[in-house]
Symmetry: C2
Subunit: 283 residues, 2 copies
């Protein structure tokens, strides 16, 4: 079961690090470009170098599907390689469609690619989440408050006051929905690292038991310590994704070693937080 496996890894490795295996084909190191499937070879090397540091991996579908069949092959092999070393993989697809169609998307994620978890988009409502949720041994992270600037177009829009006169932003409604939709205990939320205040608010709404996937540390600029605190890393239900800052740490043949060094630095930094007495964090 995904949630349990993830929590155990987080505790055992003392690591909330999710490594995003999102290599851009054109920018892969020359040393592996000669391989029949460089995307897969790149990931294989990264997994070998970092599997004892990452609580999970995340693969963003975009970086695979734009390479057509070759990318689909690379994605399948990558997930199998991660499983071979017991690391779960989040397939970052942000899918959302009508129920009939979502059934086949769920089959794609969980039966064709064997992903352990997916990311989903809430715009089309519960019906678009349900077929994924039905796989109760897998996880579903529903987009709540994303890490990008133009989230402000919709996600921060205030809704009309309810009967109590309270007016909440859109992303708060989504957090409430995630809690309500979590009938099989396998839903989580995506909340960006670039907005620690909102992340803290979302954690408060969800409570400590719902997993939060937090992208945006690294190239996107989110601050690690703030995020560990705001997302309540001590709950064991926070994972922080870092992609480019780790996988592109070196553009040369030493990319895997460089990635390991970055991952180690991240884990060391976050361990400090884990080992701090709780009262120190409240400052």
């Amino acid at each position: 079961m995904y949630q349990k496996q993830l929590r155990e890894r987080i505790q055992r490795l003392q690591s909330v690090l999710c490594i995003g295996l999102d290599g851009v084909y054109e920018k892969l190191p020359a040393s592996i470009k000669a391989d029949p499937n460089p995307l897969w070879r790149f990931n294989q090397n990264l997994i070998e170098a970092t599997h004892d540091l990452a609580c999970c991996y995340k693969a963003n579908f975009a970086f695979y599907i734009y390479r057509g069949e070759e990318g689909v092959t690379a994605l399948g092999k990558t997930i199998r390689a991660a499983h071979a070393v017991d690391v779960p993989v989040i397939l970052d697809v942000k899918w959302g469609d009508i129920g009939h169609t979502a059934e086949y998307y769920a089959k794609a994620a969980f039966e064709a690619f064997y992903a352990d978890a997916v990311t989903l988009n809430p715009y089309m409502g519960e019906e678009s989440i349900a077929p994924f949720r039905d796989y109760d041994d897998r996880g579903c992270y529903v987009l709540c408050f994303t890490s990008n600037a133009s989230r402000r177009d919709l996600q921060t829009r205030k809704l009309a006051s309810d009967t109590n006169g309270d007016s909440e932003p859109m992303y708060r409604l989504v957090a409430d929905k995630i809690k309500k939709w979590n009938k099989n205990g396998n839903l989580g939320a995506v909340a960006g690292a670039t907005a620690p205040e909102e992340l803290a608010e979302i954690r408060e709404t969800l409570g400590p038991d719902i997993s939060i996937l937090c992208p945006g540390v690294g190239v996107q600029g989110g601050d690690l310590e703030e995020v560990l605190f705001a997302g309540d890393a001590r709950s064991g239900n926070l994972v922080i994704n870092v992609s480019r800052a780790i996988i592109n740490a070196s553009a040369g043949a030493d990319f895997a070693e460089a990635a390991r060094r970055e991952a180690e630095m991240f884990v060391d930094q976050s361990k400090t937080f884990f080992n701090q007495p709780i009262e120190d964090q409240e400052d």
Copy 2:
């Protein structure tokens, strides 16, 4: 250019019919199940039988990707076959991601699969639309008001009043955004056939020049005449998608002929509307 080609076909064929090539692998007719790639063979037969009736085709990505590499191959071949008979294809993916990632999704849709248009999800804002919009010879339909029941979870939620005291639902904000984001004249909206009143409202907000893709006629229950009127079919900027009612008209070896008969019926029915004097429609 997609929008121009589509409008010309709509006028010339007097057809607003978009056929959804969304065959479910397990349910394909036995007569083609022996083919090395049945999904592709199914579509090839459908395209041969209906290309003079459809203003465009739509392929929902779910029904391809759950078959892995085989599905990706079928999708590529399907789009090429439609192009060989000059019919544009909408790739129905409902993607939406941060800008850096959306660039690669746009490459996937437009350079790997050669789609003429895509469907996109607005939840992450303009940044997630922009890389697709940059391909100004292609089209982008942004989800506005979808055809499924659980659209009510988010899309119909009322927003807080603006400075004029007006309170609008979420989908109206999205319609406004589509109009504002339409910098290259290639954005459109998805508005479901199952809600003609909201469809009319969205058409009013967008004006007659922005293309609306309208799913939900057929199995989902939308009424054709209501939709033609509400979406202003006479503008030449409305396309109505029908998938299952056409492609599954027969489960036997005559599936393509049966699909043609259904498509003909649809086009005849909608032609009546096109040829009616405008005053008759106002009743």
